[in-house]
């Protein structure tokens, strides 16, 4: 976070906005942010209300992260912040400055080798239309890492935040089970 958005205690009842490096007072409605996404740092000037999801898709053109319901109910926008799965649609971009963000674009190796979960989704045919799939995969990677993929019942419970309108759930569970076994071995 640049200095103008960190506040001192407003002793006089007013915020004392910092002054930008060039001496001008920044507009209170624009933030200059640096976001670290898939290991790369991106500079952004955005309104405070911009969500991480909109910043990713509309500003950084990382459209792998999908907008489904945009109100925290479907899981299509699941990304990792500091290694934990969260919903990008209910996260303000400003809030995750200084955190490490991983999207579906950052999951495969640099040489293109798919992550074990991505490969398992292909092998198990764990999707139909594919729209929920990036969110399902990001959620599954974290689910396995958390240790919540020990049984089909546990996978269903801990993947419940990712909806699939095509109803590919049996194959999704199979893919998560397979990937969990591979990653454990």
């Amino acid at each position: 976070m640049t200095s103008q958005t960190i506040i001192d205690p407003p002793e006089d009842g007013h915020f004392r906005n910092g002054i930008a490096a060039n001496g001008s007072t920044p507009s209170p409605t624009t933030l200059s942010l640096h976001l670290t996404i898939n290991g790369e740092t991106h500079a952004l000037d955005i309104e405070p209300r911009v969500t991480l999801l909109d910043a990713l898709r509309e500003r950084l053109h990382l459209t792998g992260t999908k907008k489904g319901c945009d109100q925290g109910q479907c899981g299509a926008c699941t990304v990792h912040v500091d290694g934990e799965r969260v919903l990008a649609c209910l996260t303000l971009a400003a809030q995750v400055e200084g955190r490490s963000i991983t999207t579906i674009e950052g999951l495969a190796d640099e040489d293109g080798t798919l992550h074990a979960v991505q490969a398992a989704f292909l092998e198990q045919d764990a999707f139909q239309c594919g729209y929920c799939t990036p969110g399902q995969i990001m959620s599954a990677v974290a689910c396995i890492r958390e240790g919540h993929a020990g049984s089909d019942e546990e996978i269903r419970e801990y993947m419940a935040g990712n909806l699939c309108r095509c109803g590919a759930y049996p194959n999704i569970v199979a893919a998560v089970r397979q990937a969990a076994q591979e990653l454990r071995s």
Partner: protein
């Protein structure tokens, strides 16, 4: 979503000062605030991001007590080994709430501050009348679709159901919320709507939750949270019960019992009538079922939610019987 100014507080004093300003709202996990801002219910002038304050996310639990920092994530508390051992109902209430992603975002303090909300509250464009949003504007739910609405603690101003799970377990075990200058029983921190439905918490301008503390007890150690709902996961409770049980040395006489309800009331609801009726009694199914009915004294339904009056005592009884079996 209306735009707002964004400021990041890097210590609790800055957060308290900022929270006292008109139009300022605190942002912790964001799962409630950003959601309600999107649907036009929350219109903060300034959002104070407290999620970067350090030292407020510790979880320190033992048989004696659990002290949980306000910024601890729901998922971390749910998975904490000591919380699972000494306060199982708290862990169970947490992992059955929301989804894994939301539990990684939402904090314990933010969980207590989530709005008591119903579908009419969330839809100002179509339903301007809501005493929670605009005091005195009326209640769109009364006379509307009420299947999910409360039957206990309701008023003519509001019948919205308190949606949380964690606070139900906290109320059962006499937890306190630390507001800095004041400490309150969680049970007293939540307010039933009465004539002032817009006021859901006993919190004053400039106060910020810093921690919750749960006293340890034999009943907390032998406890469970049962949540019955329309679908198996990622759904609000139709009725839920946090129950703790302590038996006498004979293994069948109830020494201490705690019962609190979710999904049926306007606030996390302690069912003391059930507890009083069962203390000193034998742990037997007929006695338990009869006593569980006492939880519904004073219940008022609005038609479609009448089933909750039959359902909630059965959830209580199931929870007590389950604990009895694990002797």
């Amino acid at each position: 979503m209306r735009d707002f100014s964004y400021f990041r507080a890097d210590n609790i004093e800055a957060a308290r000062n900022a929270a006292a300003l008109p139009g300022a709202m605190l942002l912790a996990g964001g799962t409630t605030l950003v959601d309600l801002a999107k649907c036009g219910v929350a219109e903060p002038a300034t959002v104070i991001d407290i999620s970067h304050i350090e030292g407020l996310n510790a979880i320190d639990a033992s048989a004696d007590r659990a002290l949980i920092g306000a910024l601890a994530k729901m998922s971390h508390v749910a998975d904490n080994a000591e919380v699972k051992s000494f306060f199982p109902a708290v862990s169970e209430a947490l992992w059955q709430a929301a989804s894994a992603q939301l539990r990684n975002m939402a904090t314990i303090g933010g969980n207590l501050m989530q709005r008591t909300r119903c579908p009419y509250f969330r839809d100002p464009a179509n339903f301007p009348a809501c005493n929670k949003r605009v005091a005195g504007s009326g209640c769109s739910a009364i006379g509307g679709v009420t299947r999910g609405h409360a039957v206990l603690g309701v008023s003519e101003a509001c019948i919205a159901t308190y949606p949380g799970d964690l606070a139900v377990a906290l109320v059962a075990f006499d937890a306190e919320v630390d507001l800095g200058e004041r400490k309150l029983k969680v049970e007293d921190f939540f307010l039933a709507p009465g004539a002032t439905a817009e006021q859901e918490h006993d919190i004053r301008p400039g106060e910020v939750i810093t921690a919750i503390e749960i006293p340890g007890s034999a009943a907390a150690r032998r406890s469970t949270y049962i949540k019955v709902r329309d679908r198996q996961s990622y759904e609000f409770a139709a009725a839920s019960a946090a129950v703790g049980l302590e038996l006498e040395g004979d293994g069948r006489t109830i020494r201490d019992i705690r019962v609190a309800l979710g999904g049926v009331a306007t606030k996390p609801w302690r069912a003391r009538a059930v507890e009083d009726a069962l203390k000193g009694k034998a742990l037997d199914e007929a006695t338990i079922r009869e006593a569980s009915e006492l939880a519904m004294e004073g219940a008022v339904d609005h038609g479609a939610n009448r089933y909750k009056i039959a359902l909630a005592p059965r959830v209580i009884a199931r929870a007590i019987l389950k604990l009895g079996e694990t002797a």
